[in-house]
């Protein structure tokens, strides 16, 4: 009651009374009395009292079980059962009393091995032919029982040990679970014969039955007893573990009518969100059926065939609702997971074909839905998740594509690839909307970029692209060439005229297109290779060779195309018809680099997109790992065009390396205010110098030495200093002696000289604090840290000899600069890096 009616003391004393009440010992008669008297006039207060009484019963029973007489227990249980059947109770009260009954049954089953439970179940299912209301009650009883036996937080602590609880649960699973499932199936079967409109009772009963079925197929079969060690394993972590059944479930679950029934039920109730949720979950779990219940492969194939037919009937006869998408995608995912391609090929050919077609349609549909969600920044990413699940399923299919008939997946691959591309391009080529305020959103540095956020998607789309290279490579090339031309045109226009607002939105649109084209292209022609050797994907290599063998490739034209990034395609005769497609795509990205470079040269760098520039660096890095100076011994066959363009000792390779280096230079000089871009550019640079073969080409380059001295002067970001220092030094083992000496002369010696010049000044002790002196010291320190970090086993001795004399000087500097935190920290860091990277490797 509200505070206006009841005082604080009264409330407090009421509270105390309740608490004491709950502690009453052997309250059985008392509770019965309360139930009895309050059952007559049911109002708000008596309901609560009954509730409390039930709670009290529960606690007392658990506490005093071992002391109670069996006859008393039986009579109490029967009384309670009658009570809830006869009286109209509030749901929460009924649930509480049911819980008490269930606890009694469970506790008793430990001793009687479930006989009483079996009796109750028999009685309940006898109510099958009665009115829905008693059937619902039956469902409630069953639910309460299942809840008690389940391993969830809802099941109460009935004073049993874990071990006993599991034993009881296992026993329940073995004896009665199947019966309950059969009961549900039978009841649902009856209901499915009804036609709409459905009464509330029917709906309610359906919900109850579905919930029980769902609970069965979902969570129950988790316990596994390794009897050898009496070890109980519970798979709590998996949200919905697979449906693993034993042989005794054969007649129940393998009857095709059972699966068909669930499909029918779902078809009937799918408009009702609550019911549809349960029915769909049941279907998802049925898709994951596995275990001893399948006696042979044939049986599995048979089950799959029946399920697949039901699935196809469903998806072809309805318009999938938004909230169904996730469930449908889960069905597909589980089907492919538990009935992988080697089993799928056992399907009748036309059934399999239809299945594949539907999979393709669904994937495309979800892809479009995901793009919509992304555009609207939707809260729930239903389609996005569904799309990801479909892609997961496709990975398995593509991976085992050799078991399918030739070209089985090609049509699907093309469709899905095209749809994805379309979703990410602006009209008229694509359907990318303008919903998000792309140009006004504030984006923090911690936000994930697209290439990370959509990595899994892009990887799979790349796989699709590689299934149909004759389609994807030219398509990507043409689109990229077109967008690059447009970009150039737009920039030229802005160069000669004044800029206005609409121009930037045109640019943004172009940038977004280019950004996605580069990302997709990068995933098609190369694969992620963390910790592995980066190779040209076999499908691409194979395609390039095939293109040449069918007479479509003119190597000379191809090389010309590659070497003219400043020219349009049309300026090179024959380029459109007879250049190798892989090289053409690469050249398209090079042309894009050229446009950027030129824009910077005419002071239009501020109009460019750092995001696009980063994507390009990302592309070039992974491209160069695989394609630039490939190691021919890794491949069983090589494409002539690729070898001619990028192979060892070719002019093409030298030209390419120089081209990439000058792009790196250009970026680092003009975009050093963009930390992300600088990082990506340096990563490309490291990729170029890191490999032995590439490194020697790099070292030959004149410009490199100029670049390294510029770097050491200009850049203030630690990562750049460190990386350039270390990457240059890594070249020691790769390069012949003359390069080593060259390196010392060009990079190390000047550092040493600068250092000497600074500290040997006469008035150093007075001017050390001056800004320019301090800056120089900091600069030198950072370069030395880079040297220390870049040392390797082969180079450590010579590098240490170089650093050592100066280290002791730095020790003195700590004292000189004791008031300047920045300098002291750097000196300490230098010592740390020397110790960590060098000391332990010294042998002399």
């Amino acid at each position: 009651a509200p505070p206006s009616v009841v005082t604080n003391e009264q409330r407090h004393s009421a509270e105390v009374m309740f608490l004491n009440f709950r502690k009453t010992k052997t309250p059985y008669a008392l509770c019965r009395h309360i139930l009895e008297t309050n059952g007559i006039f049911i109002n708000k207060f008596s309901t609560n009292v009954v509730f409390e009484a039930a709670g009290l019963l529960k606690d007392a029973l658990i506490r005093e079980w071992s002391f109670l007489q069996e006859s008393d227990l039986i009579s109490l249980r029967q009384y309670l059962l009658q009570y809830i059947i006869q009286k109209q109770l509030q749901p929460f009260v009924r649930e509480r009393i049911l819980q008490v009954i269930a606890i009694m049954v469970k506790r008793g089953s430990v001793e009687d091995f479930g006989t009483h439970r079996g009796q109750i179940l028999t009685e309940t299912s006898l109510g099958l032919s009665l009115v829905p209301s008693s059937q619902i009650l039956g469902c409630n009883i069953i639910s309460a029982l299942m809840q008690e036996y389940a391993t969830t937080v809802k099941s109460s602590d009935v004073g049993l040990t874990w071990e006993t609880h599991f034993k009881a649960k296992k026993q329940f699973e073995v004896t009665d679970l199947k019966r309950i499932f059969q009961f549900c199936v039978q009841a649902l079967g009856e209901l499915s014969k009804l036609s709409p409109p459905y009464s509330d009772e029917v709906l309610s009963l359906t919900k109850h039955l579905l919930s029980i079925a769902e609970a069965e197929v979902n969570g129950f079969f988790r316990t596994k007893i390794l009897s050898k060690w009496k070890f109980y394993i519970v798979y709590e972590s998996d949200q919905s573990p697979a449906l693993r059944l034993g042989t005794h479930w054969k007649e129940v679950i393998l009857d095709p009518n059972v699966v068909n029934l669930f499909f029918t039920i779902h078809w009937k109730v799918r408009e009702n969100p609550q019911l549809a949720h349960h029915s769909l979950n049941c279907l998802v779990q049925l898709a994951s059926l596995n275990g001893a219940v399948f006696a042979s492969k044939d049986v599995r194939v048979q089950y799959l065939g029946n399920y697949m037919q039901g699935f196809l009937n469903l998806v072809t006869s309805v318009d999938i609702l938004d909230r169904e998408a996730l469930g449908i995608s889960n069905i597909v995912r589980k089907l492919i997971l538990f009935f992988p391609p080697p089993l799928l090929v056992g399907m009748p050919a036309d059934l399999l074909q239809s299945f594949l077609e539907q999979l393709t349609q669904l994937t495309c549909r979800f892809s479009e839905g995901a793009a919509q969600e992304e555009m609207l920044c939707a809260e729930d990413r239903l389609y996005m998740e569904a799309f990801d699940h479909m892609l997961e399923a496709w990975i398995s299919v593509l991976h085992d594509s050799q078991v399918f008939p030739k070209d089985f997946c090609k049509q699907s691959s093309m469709q899905i690839f095209n749809t994805y591309l379309k979703c990410h391009l602006s009209p008229p080529d694509g359907t990318r909307g303008q919903g998000r305020e792309l140009d006004t959103e504030e984006i923090d540095e911690t936000e994930e970029d697209d290439r990370t956020k959509f990595k899994d998607q892009l990887q799979t789309i790349g796989s699709f692209g590689r299934q149909v290279p004759a389609h994807s490579l030219p398509l990507l090339s043409k689109l990229l060439e077109d967008r690059t031309n447009r970009l150039q045109g737009q920039l030229q226009r802005m160069h000669s005229q004044a800029m206005n607002i609409s121009d930037t939105s045109i640019l943004d649109c172009l940038f977004e297109d280019i950004h996605w084209l580069v990302l997709i292209a990068g995933h098609v022609i190369s694969m992620d290779s963390e910790g592995e050797t980066a190779l040209i994907p076999s499908e691409i290599m194979h395609y390039s060779i095939q293109q040449a063998s069918s007479g479509q490739v003119n190597v000379e034209t191809t090389l010309k195309l590659l070497g003219s990034p400043g020219h349009h395609l049309v300026d090179i005769p024959g380029a459109d018809e007879s250049s190798d497609h892989v090289v053409r795509l690469t050249a398209a990205v090079f042309r894009l680099c050229e446009v950027e470079k030129r824009a910077v040269e005419v002071k239009l760098g501020h109009l460019l997109s750092p995001e696009v520039a980063s994507s390009i660096m990302w592309f070039l890095r992974r491209w160069s790992l695989s394609y630039l100076l490939p190691v021919e011994t890794y491949y069983s066959e090589m494409s002539m065009a690729l070898v001619a363009a990028f192979g060892k000792d070719t002019d093409g390779a030298t030209w390419t390396v120089n081209f990439l280096l000058s792009k790196v230079e250009s970026n680092l000089c003009s975009f050093n205010s963009e930390p992300g871009l600088v990082k990506d550019t340096v990563r490309l640079f490291i990729a170029l110098v890191d490999m032995r073969e590439k490194g020697s080409v790099v070292l030959k380059r004149e410009g490199l030495w100029n670049m390294s001295s510029i770097k050491i002067k200009n850049w203030k970001t630690d990562i750049v200093e460190v990386n350039t220092g270390s990457s240059l030094i890594r070249e020691f083992p790769g390069g012949p002696l003359q390069y080593r000496r060259h390196f010392v002369v060009i990079v190390l010696k000047p550092l040493q000289d600068r250092f000497k010049n600074v500290i040997c000044q006469e008035n150093f002790n007075r001017i050390f604090h001056e800004e320019n002196v301090k800056m120089e010291i900091i600069d030198i320190l950072e370069s030395f840290i880079g040297v220390a970090q870049g040392s390797q086993v082969v180079t450590v001795h010579s590098l240490f000899q170089f650093l050592y004399p100066m280290l002791s000087e730095f020790a003195t500097l700590v004292g000189v600069y004791h008031n300047y935190q920045q300098v002291v920290e750097l000196i300490l860091e230098l010592y740390c890096e020397c110790a960590r990277g060098m000391l332990c490797y010294l042998t002399q």
Binding site: E442, D508, S609, S673, E674, P675, N714, H769, E771, Y820
Partner: protein, 160 residues
Amino acid sequence: MADIEDTHFETGDSGASVTYPMQCSALRKNGFVMLKSRPCKIVEMSTSKTGKHGHAKVHLVGIDIFNAKKYEDICPSTHNMDVPFVKREDYQLTDISDDGYLCLMADNGDLREDLKVPDGELGAQLRADYEAGKELLCTVLKSCGEECVIAIKTNTALDK
């Protein structure tokens, strides 16, 4: 972008520049920058951008080196910010005058008496330690025409 060596900065006294320009992206945490015309130590630095294809902006949070007030600023990373010249020097405390001025001796023996005892806890600590007879070193922070004692240390060199 201007090379550091090309920029003129004079460290003389009156009429000379007390700051020099530096590109925003070159600033670093724990470095110094002028915010709202006050010399500040950078305590937080983060980048963001407007729009997916926008250019980087730097968000700076700094603490005034003299009065510990907090200031913030956002600027495009290509812009130049003013960086104050900051000098820290240790002086030996020889005396505290009656009107609260410190008598400080530099390493070269020069005396100065133009700085007052600092406010707050530091000043109290200084007085207490001085009264207790400890040999004190005062660290004087100088920037943008302002000077004050920022820290005190007991002179361990003399104890030996």
